[in-house]
Symmetry: C2
Subunit: 243 residues, 2 copies
């Protein structure tokens, strides 16, 4: 697939998750965030899944925040000993960490509402790196935050999705990539040469061929993607002649 080098709104994701690396949990956050970014014209360029180990989180976040417009992390912002994301992000930004007044207020009000004690572990969740701002909304009662170009979210999918909604106004948006998917119920081998020629003819359109096997049937979804809808349609017309 060709990539438009001139488009400069891009992003990476860091999943902080021993539970994904152990195979116990099937991640769904990547596809949710990917679609969210796609709708805003932001290109997701890389994902890293790292264990709940501080140096790994720091290294991944620092490598990616220097490289992409935005970095999104999920996981590790709860009250237990294995929730080390806020500390790791503070270390990545070489800054301190302390109880954030707005987060303290939000959590105290939440704990009063649900009738649990604001114990030390729970209030630890109000610790944010210096300079961070809460990702807050009426729907979000967990301490997601952003600092610089890094957005730190919960790992639980339903909470993560609310945080995405809450942080959306903070993101720049770009022109959305349009896509057309064409299903071929023949193997890729017959399509390869003509598809290559169409790709060469339309360098502004990314043409990918994604094979599948369904009940012994070999097929392929050919997906065309471009920010130029007119060229996209022209290229798709040509691909359809291969059907």
């Amino acid at each position: 697939m060709q990539h438009n080098k001139n488009h400069n709104l891009d992003a990476a994701i860091v999943l902080i998750g021993d539970e994904i690396l152990s195979g116990r949990t099937q991640d769904t956050n990547v596809s949710d965030i990917a679609r969210f970014l796609g709708e805003r014209g932001i290109d997701l360029r890389e994902v890293r899944i790292v264990p709940d180990v501080e140096v790994e989180i720091v290294d991944a976040v620092n490598a990616l925040r220097a490289r992409y417009t935005y970095v999104f992390t999920t996981g590790g912002i709860g009250p237990t000993h294995d929730d080390i994301t806020a500390d790791a992000i503070a270390k990545a930004f070489n800054t301190g960490i302390s109880h954030h007044p707005e987060a303290v207020k939000m959590l105290k009000s939440l704990f009063a509402e649900i009738g649990v004690e604001p114990n030390e572990a729970r209030m630890r969740m109000a610790r944010l790196p210096e300079g961070a701002e809460l990702i807050a909304s009426d729907e979000v009662k967990a301490p997601g935050f952003h600092i610089g170009n890094v957005f730190v979210m919960a790992g639980v999918p339903s909470i993560m999705r609310k945080m995405l909604k809450a942080l959306a106004p903070k993101l720049k948006t770009g022109q959305v990539v349009k896509s057309i998917s064409i299903r071929f119920e023949t193997g890729e081998g017959s399509l390869a040469e003509p598809l290559k020629q169409i790709q060469q003819q339309f360098p502004q359109v990314s043409i990918g061929s994604y094979p599948f096997v369904e009940e012994g049937l070999y097929g392929s979804n050919v997906v065309l993607r471009s920010r130029n809808e007119s060229l996209l349609n022209k290229a798709a017309e040509q691909v359809k002649t291969l059907l």
Copy 2:
């Protein structure tokens, strides 16, 4: 979660996949490979998802193959113009690429069997980096291969799983990590302090707390993992007293 630094069989995955980064496709290969490795006592330590761009594949593979015992890639080994994995791996190993006699034979026999022409695009799939060996079996008719500590597999999940089975005998195996999962239907905030104390008491057991929200209920799965079953059971007994 604590990691045993003495255990040195570990691995990383590189998913090569524009279709995953676009959010169009939900990946399942990571969890399949993770469980496969877990059953063999190999620790999955990192995953990277990169686009179908040569330099990105080369950089990820080279960073990870220097660091971990094994690297597994999925995707990009078909016959179409966007299938660039074999070339990228050759570049990563700074070696040439050419039609591999065994791969040529396997593919010709397959194409004869299913009655398709062995055209140039199809036979391009027989190109492997110099020094690579096919990942072959009676079940696998696609050109997966391994070179050094890197295993290159198909992206289609059903084919990928057959390749895992075929390559299994080539891997060293270690002592399997045992795990015990305990479900708490209370929020993590009440567990945090006692869990931390149990974690401190059992440094050889990794204790993770993975929160969930189900129909408004906040709960957590506490997962204990260790290669030492006796310590694992002792730590689990202590965690169960918190129920």
